[in-house]
Symmetry: C2
Subunit: 512 residues, 2 copies
């Protein structure tokens, strides 16, 4: 994700001890050489490629990789530079997009294309940058009338800190479910580099909201627990002067806090830490980082008055906060944010229990009860029996989902609440929000509905040709983009990888 969230504060307070611990866990990357499974060519001469000729390589699957090829000249001696355009595409449709006229609002620099002049051939061209691609389209912009180029030995070096073959895929008679599982695992593998990346094509950074979902899926698949640990230490090591951890971390040239702060993301530090402990029993990390989790809650409380979190972006004397929740521009986020605080309070309580801090546990318990009570008073529409948010009393799926996940809704009423609100015009936009919807269904004992939703939503991407899951998927509009152009959408995005977790953790394939 990328957007122009307002800057809360830009002063970073580096914690060297935490950063050092994180850096000591820098993973080794596996590098696997792969060759195209097919290639398509459009050329005028039998012998090499000349001006305007095109070669399209298909590597079979979308992956984070480096690209290389061998180029030599044929015909007369090479009397001019060879001039090539090379475009890397995650999906087939990108091959034919006119990038020259790209006019989206995020950087044109994200378009995966290069212009190469080669003065001397033969030469092994080893491209310096990493790309995310299944397809490579090489267009010969020019040679000269006297020579052409031969493009051969094309290969990519796939990189990841995990090996896909280490994960046993689910066995299901449902071919679509199988494919969903495979694509989920591949998506995660692609996003597991030296940190959990957002997407290997674009952003390529560690985001806390995405980390949560990646960590959960990792525990059920690759079990690279050190990468979660490294990520936790990175976040804890790079807060601002208040102690708030950023929504996102830059790894290079050295670890750096982004100046984007999202309250919901910061509060997810507690669940990520608690779940990490549950899977690893790594008490040292728990002890070292719990304070950081608690601190995020303290900061959240600055935006709470009379048990209610203030509206996003409104200054109530403590500055403003921003939160993510979902990418729906019309979504009123206050109610969902209230629920995320409740949700995080439960994890803070769990951390206290694990650490033997009964007084603090009691404090969080009371806070939870007060804020839950206040939430019902403020957000619960008794007549319509739904949570509403904001002055317009907006009914969104997100508000209900988060109140259910916060366990603020009696279990026996949750399913009906979701059913009542599922056709709200304030729809879910991201796979990220769809994941929480599925978990809310599971929380409501609606395993069959959860399974159906996974199959419909993620299966929809598979049917549209996905082999890794996308940053954004709107079944009604395949070209939808939050960036003004779907050319820069990421077609392999961390927050979409959770079916592999949902299928394994909840055995969803058994409920269809």
């Amino acid at each position: 994700m990328a957007t122009d969230w307002a800057i809360n504060t830009a002063a970073m307070v580096k914690k060297p001890y935490f950063i050092e611990k994180a850096q000591a866990l820098l993973p080794r990357l596996y590098r696997v050489e792969e060759f195209p499974v097919s290639c398509e060519e459009k050329r005028k001469s039998k012998d090499g490629y000349g001006k305007g000729d095109v070669l399209i390589l298909d590597f079979g699957h979308n992956h984070a990789a480096y690209f290389r090829f061998f180029c030599r000249s044929v015909g007369s001696p090479m009397d001019a530079p060879a001039f090539l355009h090379i475009k890397f595409c995650e999906t087939e449709k990108e091959l034919w997009e006119d990038t020259a006229n790209y006019n989206g609002w995020i950087s044109k620099g994200w378009l995966q294309e290069e212009w190469l002049h080669i003065d001397e051939l033969p030469r092994l061209i080893e491209m310096e940058r990493r790309y995310a691609f299944r397809f490579v389209k090489i267009t010969v912009l020019d040679t000269s009338p006297k020579f052409r180029v031969v493009l051969e030995q094309a290969a990519r070096i796939k990189v990841s800190s995990v090996k896909e073959e280490d994960v046993e895929l689910i066995t299901s008679e449902d071919a679509l479910l199988q494919k969903i599982d495979e694509a989920s695992v591949r998506t995660l593998a692609n996003c597991m580099q030296t940190v959990f990346e957002d997407g290997p094509k674009r952003d390529r950074r560690l985001w806390l909201g995405d980390l949560r979902l990646q960590a959960l899926t990792n525990y059920e698949t690759f079990k690279n627990q050190n990468l979660v640990k490294r990520s936790l230490y990175l976040f804890a090591g790079l807060p601002n002067q208040k102690g708030m951890i950023p929504a996102c971390i830059f790894e290079r040239p050295e670890p750096l806090m982004d100046d984007t702060f999202l309250l919901d993301y910061a509060l997810f530090f507690a669940p990520v830490l608690e779940e990490y402990y549950e899977y690893t029993k790594d008490k040292e990390t728990l002890e070292e980082l719990a304070q950081c989790a608690f601190l995020q809650m303290d900061i959240a409380m600055e935006f709470v008055e009379n048990g209610i979190v203030c509206e996003e972006g409104k200054d109530v004397g403590a500055g403003v906060y921003h939160c993510f929740i979902d990418w729906n521009e019309v979504l009123d986020k206050q109610c969902a944010m209230q629920a995320v605080i409740l949700y995080a309070l439960r994890y803070c309580r769990k951390l206290c229990r694990l650490l033997g801090m009964p007084e603090k546990e009691e404090y969080y318990k009371n806070l939870y009860e007060e804020m839950k009570q206040a939430a019902y008073e403020k957000f619960w529409d008794t007549q319509r029996q739904v949570f509403v948010s904001g002055k317009e009393e907006q009914i969104s799926i997100a508000s209900q989902v988060w109140m259910i996940l916060a366990q603020a809704v009696p279990k026996e009423e949750a399913a009906a609440l979701l059913e009542r609100t599922k056709d709200s015009p304030v729809v879910m936009v991201t796979p990220y929000m769809h994941h929480f919807y599925v978990t809310a269904l599971l929380e409501s004992d609606e395993k069959a509905k959860a399974a159906v939703h996974v199959k419909a939503y993620w299966g929809g991407m598979i049917q549209a040709g996905a082999d890794t899951f996308w940053e954004l998927y709107n079944p009604a509009n395949e070209k939808e983009s939050p960036y003004g152009s779907h050319c820069v959408n990421s077609y392999c995005h961390a927050w979409s990888c959770t079916p592999a977790y949902l299928l394994r953790k909840y055995g969803l394939d058994k409920h269809l």
Copy 2:
């Protein structure tokens, strides 16, 4: 020069001994760091460059050089690649040319521009390729809304196998002559790399016709005699199976014969060798390479019937030959080619004299007399008192110039012949041909006219802004190009460097 000369034959017969001798003479390149003398910027923010901003650096003079700069980001952390377009221009007018719509007939790859994606900043960008430039135009194609880039510490590393400061410029009260001399020396320095290059921007190869003029100018200026020697051995080491030496040599990845053969160029091997000996007294080279010079004449004789060279491109049973003479498409070259053979025969005689080969010397003397006699019968128009060429009896400056240089015209008649034909509609197009015109004036004892012509023609380039001399200069059309677009013209071209030779050798500055 570059054109689609037909291929005589493509089989190269490498002579390892000659190649080794040439390679042992590979010169060391001097690398001199230079900084911009001025810079012009168009940017929206005080702090760094964002999307659409432009920085133009002026290094004061056109040079063959490598470029580097330091790039860092300002604003929020760098959340997208920086995407830059960098264009290198020999002249100011190129800065504003729309290269995207370039449609000339030689390779688009010669346009000196690059597109750079930089994933991580700060970074010292050291561009890999060599360019010829005075100006660098950096356009920021995109950053992101959150950061901008700072471009600083721009420098270029000028490269040449000679040092300009080693040459003492002429001292003249005529400022224009001074500038002509300076630009000539600079042009030559730029073209003296690991071989004598055609032009540092485009072609960058060793051409025999250009070598002749560069060698002469070098003897009067840099005196890097080993570079001439190396060039001679390269040509001698890379003939075709008949022994004909190519018009041009490729140096890398290993020395290679071009498949372009020009009879006039091949015959210039004799004058280059003879003059090299005169300046160096290097008898070993003379002895080793004279056979190669003689062989070019033997090959030329295959195209001679009854003392007359056949027409260019016509097959008279011995294949076809091509020649250069000048870049004027309407020029009939037969008469000039006949004169070039006569000219080369004189140098073959000189070589025989130096080597003590009286019988061969006599043979060339007789051949010269026969062919001169035949030339008068075939090409001399008694009525109009001019040389004519071809069926149309074309009167060109080139025919007269070469007959005078071949000493086929009595000295006392030469000046009048040039005067009679100077307004021929078959004009001279290249500085290369203009050089021979000036030498024909000198051969006719017209030093003042020669000086005036140098000042008018090369001075015209200076007045049009040149600081190195161009591949092509038509005072009537500054945008003229043999390539369909003047964007790919070379603005520093070896064959234009001769004023430095003419001024010194003939003291032309004393005759104005």
